[in-house]
Symmetry: C2
């Protein structure tokens, strides 16, 4: 007997998945080869009706669930699409996430959620980790990323969508609106309505640079009109009604002649509105208030809040659609979609 004919030892290993059945077991039970069972899993054709039924029955009997890791490893698609955002606390991402989840899961893809909490290091390590799943595509918030993140993303063969903001030179796909244009539009609007002392209230945004772009365009516009562009209050707490009220009070103490404020979110704006009323300030006679995102509350506070409508649901749908087109092998006409925005005039301006 030669030593080459057989392995000298049989290795045994614990079966990892206690109850899980495999394709091979399904095949055995159906009395077919594993390959036939595999074919049943895939297309409806290429297997005779008789065998197919036997296989399907066996799958049901064994409560078979295909192992997606193995499927993927053997050459399939992971079907995983990571969604990278700074935080979920910011309600702005929810409608977008929701729209995307709906569309993508309908097409058989799964969303892997990653939040970075605005931490640069966390962002990169999270991304590296998520890329380990060999995702079918990636969705990230914003168009400004750290150097390593950009490199990683640029090197990807799979489609990448940057959402919310607009880039001059997107990594790949891009859906959002122009935050700088929002800043200009709001400032112009307020100036045209005769406001002279125009302030800004927001939260501090490190990586959240699209709001940075918004505010700097806003200030630049004020400056160009010869106005003071330093009437600003910010906080590092997440945006909420309470924070809005507090910042508004601070800002007004510092600049009692303030006659208009633009706030980074509607929550902040509602807080400012409530606080203004508490202080006996007439809105909009003495001070104009304008929010951002046109959330549900805006139309219902009293006086109703002027705000900027941003198409967050639309962004989600378009991002999903772009991704799906590309995954289907189509080449897109446009890689960059500007969904625009609109100032909704209500009673606070």
């Amino acid at each position: 007997m030669t030593q080459t004919s057989m392995p000298l030892k049989k290795f045994r290993r614990a079966t990892r998945q206690g109850d899980r059945s495999t394709l091979r077991e399904v095949a055995e039970r159906a009395g077919v080869s594993q390959m036939t069972a595999s074919r049943v899993l895939k297309g409806p054709d290429s297997v005779s009706a008789k065998l197919r039924q036997r296989v399907e029955q066996a799958m049901r009997d064994l409560n078979y669930i295909p192992d997606l890791a193995a499927t993927h490893l053997a050459g399939g698609n992971s079907g995983i699409i990571p969604f990278l955002i700074p935080t979920l606390r910011h309600s702005i991402y929810i409608p977008t996430l929701n729209a995307m989840t709906d569309d993508l899961s309908k097409a058989g893809y799964q969303i892997l959620l990653g939040t970075t909490n605005y931490e640069y290091e966390q962002e990169e390590s999270l991304l590296r980790n998520l890329l380990g799943w060999r995702p079918a595509g990636v969705v990230v918030s914003g168009v400004d990323h750290t150097e390593p993140t950009t490199k990683l993303l640029k090197g990807l063969q799979q489609p990448v969508v940057e959402i919310m903001d607009l880039a001059n030179d997107p990594i790949d796909l891009n859906v959002g609106f122009d935050h700088a244009a929002v800043g200009v539009a709001v400032a112009t609007e307020l100036i045209q309505r005769g406001r002279k002392r125009i302030g800004y209230i927001g939260t501090i945004t490190r990586k959240h640079t699209f709001s940075g772009r918004r505010i700097s365009a806003f200030r630049k516009t004020l400056k160009a009109a010869g106005m003071d562009s330093n009437l600003i209050a910010r906080s590092d707490k997440p945006s909420s009604i309470a924070v809005g009220a507090e910042l508004f009070r601070q800002l007004l103490e510092q600049f009692p002649d303030l006659d208009a404020v633009f706030l980074a979110t509607d929550e902040l704006a509602v807080g400012a509105l409530v606080e203004a009323q508490r202080m006996g300030k007439q809105v909009p006679a003495e001070i104009a208030i304008i929010g951002f995102n046109d959330q549900d509350i805006a139309a219902y506070v009293n006086p109703a809040l002027t705000s900027v409508r941003t198409p967050r649901v639309e962004i989600g749908h378009i991002a999903a659609q772009m991704l799906l087109s590309r995954l289907a092998g189509k080449t897109l006409g446009t890689r960059r979609v500007d969904v625009g925005f609109e100032i909704i005039h209500r009673a606070t301006t």
Copy 2:
């Protein structure tokens, strides 16, 4: 030459990942065996400093990212935890999702998001799909599931956490609060405050049975006090301020002598409040309003809204912690945690 000594053909296949480098390549470049490279990936020990550095350098040079599917298949953990909820539109899940994502990702796990849109079929197929990743654990919303879902979940070897509601006999782990108790508490409260014609406004909930439990306990309590428990308005639209206003108007048209309403969410309650004011109804003199979830707005509307505070963030943290303990092999003292709730009295009752 015998035909057993060598395969007669060499198979060639397209390399799936264009740019991705593999552990083997890393090992070759570092001049070590693949196994050594693998060990470097894992523990900090068990490889000599010299070799480790060579391997780490090679990983950097090749921009190596481990393939998680392969890792998992070869016996590791998937590190994936699916989170199954009916919808993201319902803001109630966000704080919980957020808390869980934070805690779990800190521990190296990834959240796979699944929304069912309240569709039974979608729920099961989604779950089967997600289970294909051989998740480390599963988090689902609610304690009532379809028959197949329950079977699937019960058969799992991995930890399963049901959140939001409380079950008598949980599948495995359970964190939430008693929605029936909420119904009883609110009804009792309203009755004690002398209200006679107490109504309920909510959205229609098919699978969302914990709100069903809340309302039926509420009605039962009214009935037990000899009151009419059929003063109800519902809609199948997602809960919003606008829907709240509309349902409130409908209900009041039908039952003009209504003197209190319990609403399924604070959004609905704010809508009711706004509509009451528009109709010239005194709140709370003529009609009491009480919301649910004590969201941000509740404290800031005027008059401030009485609501039921539900510890949604806490639920997320506890769920994550239970999962992590179990994944670390610990056995938990309690499998079921009641986080309670609290009626926050403000000006609308």
